[in-house]
Subunit: 408 residues, 2 copies
């Protein structure tokens, strides 16, 4: 996907990028400092609407808030999705602050501490247990607090999904309980918690609809087998998500219609037949918020070193770890970058955009075409920054101030 | 370098690692929460002593506080080294808080904002300019504030250093001013700042003494040429640092004696002859503090998935980005890890240590030998965590609490 397509999602006014209807330089003036993250409320809404329109009505949407925990974003989405998934007791507090009902909040993660489990049971949220130890701890917390814990079992499936940015199921994993161990675990379960169902999550950031569809089919099959061991009817069926977004020029959009058609077949077929009390949950983080945000940073220097032009910006890798290629990538590829304050100018000179940190790792764009007139005070945009931007970056590195975040 | 050598640096009591003379479980009780970083004061002192003993007396030591900006560490070292190097106005405030004289503080970095430059000039620290734009800004700030700025020119050398973890000199770079541009810049300089000298930094995390020595020789040669264009005698000669520390089993220690011998030849020879008013500065971050710190995290779960044993800890990649292999490494290699609360037990079972985050990137040790008895509540140690640990990691990721830091 090319940069122009990213620009078109936001729109332009007088040659400047628009975020939430505001031209970029005006927005920067409102924020009062650079760098900053800006998230577009109408693009968030459009993304939820797209999913609601295409996915079967019976499917519930869960927002995995780890993708973007900014309180205003979580609050905005809490009113528009069905559930929120949290990854820590800290995230749980933010989720509950929105007013969402605790039984609509799920908590997954392989290293929940005993203290976090106690907090989750006290809150009444759904604890997705990832090991026999966690099951014991949940039951003990429930007894101590006089509360019946709500739980789901996170299952490490007996199949792997290809093509994911990160594979999180199949083979030996720290995530979930191996599928083949689940029946025995349930056989020895003697009560003390309400086991609602299962969560099977095979991988994230997948752009291949056929692979996502296959994972969903196999998940429904697997849950069909496992549900026979449950002490009560299945009421929670979290199919995971893993819907990817395009980051580099090589990436193409996920064919969401094709994913939706497959889901529709599953929902009207095996799910309706076998799990009448369960509405399947699709859990999305990056896909909901990733394309709705940009990172805005100001050019503080332009220099030529041995024939190469560098734009040095006031932001960098400390807010953009993934875009700099330092977060799980084996090969660095440029994220989409544009000169947001001069979109009408032709991109006719090759430049590199580097951050302000004292390390060669701090590279935001390596030899990309930008307008020759790019100068100090211009605003550089990095697209696809609504997810895993600020919180996935080492913000304290070198002691620079934290960037602002705005929802516009 | 193997794990036992790391353990031996700290010492043990009753089968537990000692930090600052305290056995690990007692220290953990004092801190009151895991995970945490612990830095050993006596090891910091020993490292400074080693450098003072081996390096020529005329060499000044500068602490690049970006490596570990914990205020207690900076304060401790401020009393023991000659200078502090800062990478931002934020770091500058911490450096000045120690009471160090401003003329002993240097500020390097390719993306200094105009506001930061104004702050630095007001403070009276040495601004290492990295571009003609920065020179103009420094002079303008000095005029506005009625202060003569102290500056040095950071030079991008016309040679490259092999074997560095990160190459930061030679070829086109965002760092410094190309050596061949310096004479012209100085020809057009008409005053407004006191140009003290030069900083040439070719690369960091180098374990090869011969390459460091060669870089220092070439740096002295280069500065010899450039100094002819200076309007006043050279009074600042920052040779950089780049001394590496061993992280993986494959790494061997830097031969510091050999580096020192070469420096001695330079100091007594060309430096004494050509720059009688300059004491050469060796600027070190990682080498001063890196080996003096450990990261301590508690086992919260032990699970077996399809034949593989996982210890799940309450810390992870959000505090250990480099150790997880997600910070500039092309190939992930295990950092030294030990079961700090059971050092006497034989390491007789292969296990993986994973963090508490919902991502397969959160891998602290991949299939290493650990005691078979490793269990919930045991304390895992990651060594070589005195530098680029906490501040180089995405601490806000997934909303977990920040870890404590103690200097013991």
């Amino acid at each position: 996907m090319n940069v122009q397509e990213h620009i078109d999602q936001f729109g332009t006014i007088d040659g400047e990028l628009c975020v939430g209807g505001q031209p970029l330089t005006r927005l920067a003036a409102r924020v009062g400092s650079t760098p900053f993250f800006a998230y577009d409320r109408s693009l968030l809404d459009a993304r939820v609407d797209l999913l609601r329109r295409l996915l079967p009505a019976r499917v519930e949407l869960s927002y995995a808030m780890k993708a973007n925990p900014m309180p205003a974003v979580v609050q905005h989405l809490a009113a528009r999705v069905d559930r929120i998934d949290v990854a820590s007791a800290g995230e749980m507090q933010h989720a509950l602050n929105t007013g969402i009902s605790p039984d609509r909040v799920s908590f997954a993660g392989p290293g929940k501490t005993p203290a976090e489990i106690r907090q989750a049971v006290a809150a009444g949220i759904i604890v997705e247990i990832e090991s026999p130890t966690e099951l014991r701890r949940v039951i003990a917390a429930g007894e101590e607090l006089g509360v019946e814990p709500r739980i789901a079992i996170r299952v490490n499936p007996d199949f792997a999904v290809k093509g994911s940015g990160m594979r999180m199921g199949g083979g030996p994993q720290q995530f979930g309980i191996d599928a083949e161990q689940v029946p025995e675990l349930l056989r020895f379960f003697t009560g003390g918690a309400d086991i609602l169902g299962f969560h099977v999550f095979a991988g994230s950031q997948n752009l291949a609809a056929d692979i996502i569809a296959e994972a969903q089919r196999r998940t429904v099959d697997l849950v069909g087998q496992l549900a026979e061991s449950l002490p009560a009817p299945l009421r929670y069926l979290n199919l995971g998500g893993g819907f990817g977004i395009p980051y580099t020029e090589r990436d193409t959009r996920l064919d969401l219609e094709s994913v939706a058609e497959n889901l529709d077949r599953l929902v009207t077929g095996p799910i309706a037949e076998r799990f009448p009390q369960a509405r399947p949950v699709i859990e999305l983080g990056r896909f909901l918020v990733g394309e709705c945000g940009v990172y805005v940073t100001r050019v503080v220097d332009r220099k030529v070193s041995r024939g190469r032009t560098f734009l040095v910006v006031d932001g960098g890798m400390h807010h953009q770890l993934a875009a700099s290629g330092n977060f799980g990538q084996a090969i660095r590829r440029n994220y989409p970058v544009a000169l947001g304050s001069r979109l009408s100018a032709p991109a006719d000179e090759e430049m590199s955009v580097v951050g302000c940190l004292c390390t060669p790792l701090d590279l935001l764009a390596d030899g990309i075409p930008l307008p020759a007139g790019a100068a100090v005070d211009d605003l550089i945009i990095v697209f696809q920054q609504g997810a895993y931007g600020l919180t996935a970056s080492p913000t304290a590195f070198l002691g620079h101030p934290a960037p602002a975040e705005v929802l516009v």
